[in-house]
Subunit: 225 residues, 2 copies
DNA sequence: AAGTTTCTTTACAAAATCTTTATACAAGCC
DNA sequence: GGCTTGTATAAAGATTTTGTAAAGAAACTT
């Protein structure tokens, strides 16, 4: 089982059945909705990885449903529709649909298009290596490199460095960093921070006395570039 | 001009012409390639934001071209092809194409699909940057620039500058500024203000003696333009 | 249990920032 | 002009914030 959940929204029970069987036999988890109201409730309660949306629903215009979903739902939506007019297609795509298939569609093509949109929506966490000049951090393996050399960081050092990397360019306040790393009751222990910032600089900066990556913003916090 | 560059890969000159005109009139920047070799070279030398790829190229099978591109090119690729067989479509999508349009296609639909794939590939997190001529202030990252150069401001300087920027054009009284920055009990310490205004001018004005941004309204306060 | 690593705490040095003082300039007014 | 009022700037303290080393405590390893 893939554990990728797809929500099928269609009023015709035969089509839902067909899609369910097709998708399940391709290792997708399936949930169903037969009208607009149900679709929105289901999507909100248990957001799927992808929505297959029929535009011809009984209780509401499909374009409206799409708009409502897109107010908050950011994952892929593929439209399945009997209408093949350019107007409908353009409108749906501009309302945030990721693809538009005209019924009757070919099963293999649908599956390929599902794979395609899922691929592009999940490719971000596929390669979680952040690069900053001569420094790089691999979020998955927790490996930090400086000019290809692996740098060994302790847990606390790594957590701190991670925070800085993930917020490149932004100033992170002492307050925020202390809260994130040591917990809310440590927000006044700025000394901890100083010690670990010094440690990181010693390990990561070319010249710890003139840091180019870990910049201190006096009176505010630190910034990573 | 959008400044979004699209590479058109097609061997038929009429189609390239037509696409070029269509895309350019929709504010895209266009480059062209008429065969596989040229396409790969162009894409490598000057990577576009999107590639429109015809599968029927004279010098190489389109699927192979797609595979070669996908070895390193991560931005969207839309296939334009005369072949409408499911086999071709599935193969292309599984090789990393983001969409597949069968020729002849409808122009409006192509543009909508281009918008769609570009939308999902460029999920920008726009942060509010205020611009004032050669000066800019990024409230999120707390970065102030003067003609692209980062200017380092201390906490007090930054707070003061922020206040001025947020009230561009308005006169802020000494009273008000002192109260906002130092607190209600400092409303008579106008000297503080003068010192910090001078500091800001020294850092931000081209000629601190003849300020063009931070204007003094004698007897009242200061105004930022 | 000894040794190693990592974290916490202390102490002091260094740097940055803020406050205060001193002085100069400009404009308006008698 | 001489006086007052409001403003500008430099520079000397004063204060706050930050950096660094190093010792002791705690947590892990073997």
């Amino acid at each position: 089982m893939n554990n990728v959940e797809i929500l099928i929204v269609d009023d015709e029970v035969q089509i839902r059945k067909m899609l369910t069987i097709t998708l399940q036999s391709n290792d997708y988890k399936v949930s169903e909705a037969s009208n607009a109201k149900e679709a929105i409730i289901r999507a909100a309660n248990h957001p799927p990885e992808l929505i297959l949306l029929d535009l011809g629903l009984p209780d509401e215009n499909g374009h409206i449903v799409l708009q409502k979903l897109r107010e908050w739902y950011t994952k892929p939506i593929i439209i399945l529709s009997a209408h093949s007019s350019e107007e409908d297609i353009v409108k749906a795509l501009d309302n945030g649909a990721n693809d538009y298939l005209v019924k009757p569609f070919r099963t293999g093509e649908l599956l390929a298009r599902i794979r395609s949109v899922l691929r592009s929506s999940t490719q971000e966490d596929e390669n979680p290596i952040l690069n900053f000049g001569d420094l790089s951090i691999d979020l998955a393996t927790r490996i930090v490199r400086k000019t290809e050399e692996i740098v060994k960081l302790t847990t606390t050092e790594y957590t701190l460095f991670c925070l800085l990397c993930k917020n490149e360019g932004k100033v992170l306040t002492h307050h925020y960093l202390l809260k994130q790393i040591w917990g809310p009751s440590y927000i006044n222990e700025s000394q901890y921070l100083r010690v670990f910032i010094a440690q990181l600089r010693k390990k990561l900066e070319d010249d710890p006395n003139h840091p180019t990556h870990i910049i201190t913003e006096s009176g505010v916090g630190y910034r990573f570039i």
